[in-house]
Symmetry: D2
């Protein structure tokens, strides 16, 4: 019997459907076994997790690392981004890969594959995004190639025509048909293009460019309409689908109504929609920096999202991490108000601890539910399960040791390369102490010890039966 | 490092939310660890499960072992009943304990506790059933005592006034209020007493006593009405509740509508409702023996129940095992037609293999879902989790090794003490080869090797957070 | 061309689906014609209705004139009751006729037929109510006779076992089956007997008999449960059905859900539920007098009822007029608190003007809707249409001239034989100036001029196609 | 007392909520009075309607008289079209007026106003249709002018970009906002442009241009999606809205779900969707001629539409009359298959008798419901009530005398200027014998006696309270 590389002892091992006390033994990159205390000899390294939770590593379903957007390139690179992630307990990220004009989508995926492969310290996969749908034959060929490459997720935008991202309904319908054939997932950024874009213009042309007008530029129905449309097309094509960063109560209701019919149509939200509301846009500074899409909403939306998580209507959580700094945001705002601000903000670090504090400790959701939405469900949706998303023998040793009593003030100081965050000053109770990716300890008792290149591309292989088990 | 008592090698370990290859090591009565192949030395006994599924033991939520009803006492005793159960993969049963007239409910629970303790070879707990609700003060006291004893489930009948089981709405409401206080579960046999009972009399008095009239004596709305009422009271009181042996499509719909609101109101069905329909009542023999309550239904009900399982609307499965032999049934029928037949039939043995064959192999449900409804959910509902209901270190070693390719003809020959079963002649593909209870191998490569008294009472301890995780 | 008996000139004639200016000519007991102004010569009597609304006479669907209940006999007789009705614009009443113990239901109907025939000044028909369901054969025979007699409505109580009114579900089911055969209507007083009655006992036995406990004795779910059950049985039998004096938001929702399926299952409410809430039970005096069944509810129920009227979910309005005086109510209360108070209160007079003021003037409902629920719908439900319920040639000249600007303080001074009303002191804007029944002017410019015996029994003849047109 | 111009005696006068026997007297253009038989002396002309129904004239809510579309101009002019209408019982039409490129919408409305004023023999109003939404300021101004002119209805197309009709969501949203201000109605041709148009191209480019592919070019979800979007925008803006020629079961469901919330969002269907299904497209000849938009659907859609009428979910009926002859249709088809066929077909004549035969005689709907959807509801929606839409004193004498026993074979022979109809050969039982518009008899015992110019523009004046009474 060989000696293990690592044993985590005496923690409360958190499963998606129940917890139990036990020891986890790691050998190489994988979990070798899970034991009752006292059944294993020794390891090169042992961590006493007494009093701590032992969670499967978080999979962030929605990041924009090294992805310029609306003319702005985040300062943060894959190394900084993945370090920020690891500190927060994220062990895998699903990053956007947006087709560059005039190039193939696969070019961009390969480019990210190379960059992240050499720079990221956490594992990764991608969401492909087309910017050119004109030749649907090429689109179909690229989808097939993408699936073969191990990227089973395609993201579609129903808005951002000026940014070249907009897919009209015919394109979306065809992409869904194609992805259905391959068994992949189509994620949709759902906002009504026609109204969403012209409402902004209309406000701007009457001088209403203060940040406080931002939520008025994108009222709830802009999202609700698009979600309704997306769900109808998903139903028609039978594709696995989900709506990214759902922010409205109407959105949750619509998606839930399809889910209840047994269709594989899911809902992602972001932690910031669970903690902040649109009164922020009255404030100078943060009100400008936090101009994102969709905008923060009302209390009723926030509460419906929490309820949606609790009632299995919201299945995954993505940070929508977009590491734009203050400077360019403020510069754009000074020129053109909200029209000049690139949408996006950081969040890759705070999700787990914020949701533990605001969700589990308050009783809004169970610890098991937290694990489902942050780890198990994403792994199943994107073909990573059971390699990722669960603490089981043979799975990758992606483990977060989480001290439920550790108090931490959230804020930019935790980040590398970021000078603001909407979570600034929030006190959480519960924070990761160790983050382990495939057996490598990236965060060790709070200290980052990872290296560029620790991370790997994890190819996704879809299993529709696993999709059926998502709750 | 100690040697293990038992290692099950190379099986596909089935979790409620995913499967993985691995070895399970048992030490004493518990699972000591779960490993990747090759990480453990040896054990006193090793079983090669290559090609087999390794499932958590089935918990049958609904049996009537040694419980006389409608004047008839089943021939099968706890030893025979538990042997039949073990052969089918059942490792724990939740048996009815019905208050005897003039005695306390706890008397009956203690009596069963003793009988089963010395005779059963599988583990057990109970559902308490009052027959006397007149003094609600006493009822409340007994409930408190029952909970302390470790029986967290109370069953209520909305029918059977002649059999002394009927609880009027006020009694049910009060019992729910009391159980809510204690965090227990109220299960309800839901049929409209007034119409259900008098419809039978009415048919009988016009000479319609042939078995073919049995389903007409209890049309769907008899169940649907009662379910609707039960759910409304459960909502009002906030109690954990479920409806036993739900047989109608309407019933599933109603319960599902409450479940969607986030309420802990659940649905149990029985395997026979998933495989048989009411055309059986035209047949001689089986048409009489299979007079049960509620009766078999239509194809549309059957399909809705399967769909309900698939869509997380039906959460548990109980056999409603009632081991009445042909003789007394036929005798009663000869005298008074369906009015003379004690309701009930056997089924403790066939559920797992029938549902694997008809549910998993056909693609109607996933293997994970099968495990949820047969093991995890019952364990959570009745306070047995994670001791029961999951294969995890520290859990009881209640394990079924299930050969998915083993063909078997179901029928009375598999049973002890039974001379018929509605499953007679059904060919299944998939059958348990080994059934293990707390480390003791009761069925060893198909041979029964258990003993009276192997089984133990497992006290239930409710955890409302676990109830929230039931799907 | 003959001369007319009466012409009402220049009013706004209110139809159930639109209004128009015109003159109405009456000849004998009927409307002879409706004209544009200026097209008819003269009449014995002419009324200038300039500025007034001309409405079809109100049909009060729910009165208890000369019906003792819970040991109390109202002082008001048919003459007084019908005078009070006429002052408020009611031209026909549908009065309860409750079978006396040991007698036939038809005896009571005939008794009322005689009494009202000689004493009432407005027209009338009845709701038959059985108190003895033991012999369903007799019940069926009586139903057939009642229908032949011209009484197409049977009322069923799901509560009041002590008062001998309670019908168990089997009785209700059978009565519905029989009424379905005849095409009549079954109205149900829907409250859960078991809980409703024992909850009162339970409060009383802990000394909670103050009027403030009255609403707690009959919480919303007591009504909602029974409505749900009634609707399910009505659906099963296909009978025309409605729930009387619906008071809860849940009740409206449930009935509406059946109505949407196209079933003839309707909802009646009472004006007092639209104007008053249960805070009244804190007050001395009125808090005791207004102990009625069901009790007044919360603001949310009130608003849902108004919405229900506006959205065609509530189809008729009945006063539930029960002319109990203060004295016996207070006497009973002094002895046994709410347990000693006979349920019921007056209201036959105020409905139209209160609803015009609080409904039409406020924009909650249209004038057309008011006419539908107070006149057209009742006429269709109880087989009186088009003789009653509409202003059309050939219809009975049952006409209310209503001055929309007439201010009036409601209260006991408007009544004969009543010493209180819950409407005491309410100022309305809009009140009848003339009430005409079959051509006879009962209220002439505010003065009562009717006589005992002016009223007639109007036999009901069901037309299912007309039931289908009810909104 | 003056003599009347016309008396219609002894008919059954059909109201939207009930029928009664009576005589109708006409003086000049209006109904002077309605009487019981025997109450009026004489008239210049008397018609004995014994045994006949007397209906308010039908208002066809959807015609394309003298409106070229997709490059094709119907041969039928206003005189021929209105003659065809009158024969079928239509007394008013609401005709499309589509803005010509480079001109104002009001130019086209005025042009139609002149043409129809001199050529039509029935009354008329219009639905304005913009083709140019670029300058929303101008659009708003034109809307205001249109409303002042008396045209309170604007039609929007969510498809037909090649034909210049397409309004994007922003334009539709703005138009709805503006119409909300004025209290008018927005009708929408609801089909998803992007998919609807490109699906056709896609089929065509793979050679699938046979008429049998036409329904595949526009599957149900194309309509359902657009209806869902339209309803959401209508809800957001609060405007009065309806969807024209709804053809799918999904469409009815969606609109009904909004209607149930009390919103003024309505559903129009066409008689051809109630009688024909898409198997017609397999046939030569009629399969080509009947290429219309949306296409004929399946039996399940047809039945849901009938149910929708019966359950007050479908509120109006329009013929979508488009008098294209065979020749140009076949010519286009020969060239380009379904892509070459101008969409549209005749139907202005058959609606009333077809629906009476297939709806009322079969018991699917009541006679009252037929009158609601063909006359009362359109009058209320388009501001014509009570001048049109009801038989009442002071209303226009638009009257159809309809012999319910008259048998008639439908077909082109009844038409002027048409050489085909989808109703060819259908035998109806029930047909108009007389059609009267403002007192002028256009069809006299089956013979057409109207003249060009008999018809008049009837300005629409919206009354929101009347809209609330629509069922």
């Amino acid at each position: 019997m060989e000696e293990f590389d690592l044993i985590i002892r005496n923690g409360l091992i958190v499963g998606s459907h129940g917890c139990y006390a036990g020891d986890i033994a790691v050998s190489g990159e994988q979990i070798a076994g899970i034991f009752k205390a006292g059944f294993i000899g020794k390891a090169h390294r042992e961590i006493d997790a007494t009093g701590s939770l032992v969670l499967p590593g978080v999979i962030d379903t929605h990041t924009h690392i090294e992805e310029p957007f609306q003319g702005l390139t985040p300062l943060e690179d894959w190394t900084a981004g993945s370090r920020n992630a690891a500190i927060g307990g994220v062990t895998t990220t699903l990053n956007f890969s947006i087709q560059d004009p005039g190039k193939n989508l696969m070019d961009k995926i390969r480019e990210h594959f190379e960059r992240a492969g050499s720079l990221s310290c956490i594992d990764f996969n991608f969401h492909g995004v087309f910017t050119d749908y004109k030749d649907l034959g090429s689109v179909r060929k690229e989808i097939a190639e993408m699936m073969r490459f191990g990227v089973p997720s395609l993201k579609v935008f129903t808005i951002y025509s000026a940014d070249g991202l907009y897919a009209d309904d015919w394109s979306m319908y065809n992409v869904m048909m194609e992805m259905k054939k391959h068994g992949g997932f189509v994620g949709v950024h759902a906002e009504n293009m026609s109204i969403g874009e012209q409402m902004q213009q209309s406000l701007a042309s009457s001088g209403k460019i203060h940040s406080r007008y931002w939520p008025m530029a994108k009222p709830n129905f802009i999202e609700a309409e698009a979600i309704s449309r997306v769900a109808m097309l998903a139903q028609e094509t039978g594709v696995n689908a989900y709506v990214v960063h759902t922010s409205t109560r109407e959105g949750v209701e619509i998606l839930s109504s399809y889910r209840r019919k047994g269709l594989p149509i899911f809902c992602e939200t972001c932690p910031h929609f669970l903690f902040f509301t649109d009164d922020i846009y009255e404030k100078p500074g943060i009100g400008v920096w936090q101009i994102i899409s969709p905008p923060l909403r009302k209390e009723a939306d926030k509460e419906r999202l929490w309820q949606g998580i609790n009632r299995n209507e919201v299945s995954i959580i993505g940070s929508d991490h977009n590491a734009y700094q203050k400077g360019p945001k403020e510069k754009g705002y000074a020129e053109k108000g909200f029209m000049g601000v690139s949408n996006g903000g950081p969040g890759i670090l705070e999700g787990l601890s914020a949701m533990y504090t605001g969700g589990v400790r308050t009783g809004r959701i169970t610890l098991e539910r937290l694990t489902q939405i942050t780890s198990e469900n994403p792994a199943k949706m994107f073909g990573l399960y059971p390699r990722k998303g669960v603490l089981a023998p043979g799975s990758d040793a992606d483990i977060v040791i989480f001290d439920p009593e550790k108090k931490q003030i959230l804020g930019q100081h935790l980040y590398e390369s970021m000078d603001w965050t909407v979570y600034e000053g929030m006190e959480v109770c519960g924070f990761p102490t160790h983050t382990i990716v495939r057996g490598k300890i990236l965060v060790d008792d709070g200290d980052f010890s990872g290296n560029a290149g620790d991370g790997k591309f994890i190819p996704g292989k879809m299993d529709q039966n696993l999709v059926r088990t998502i709750v």
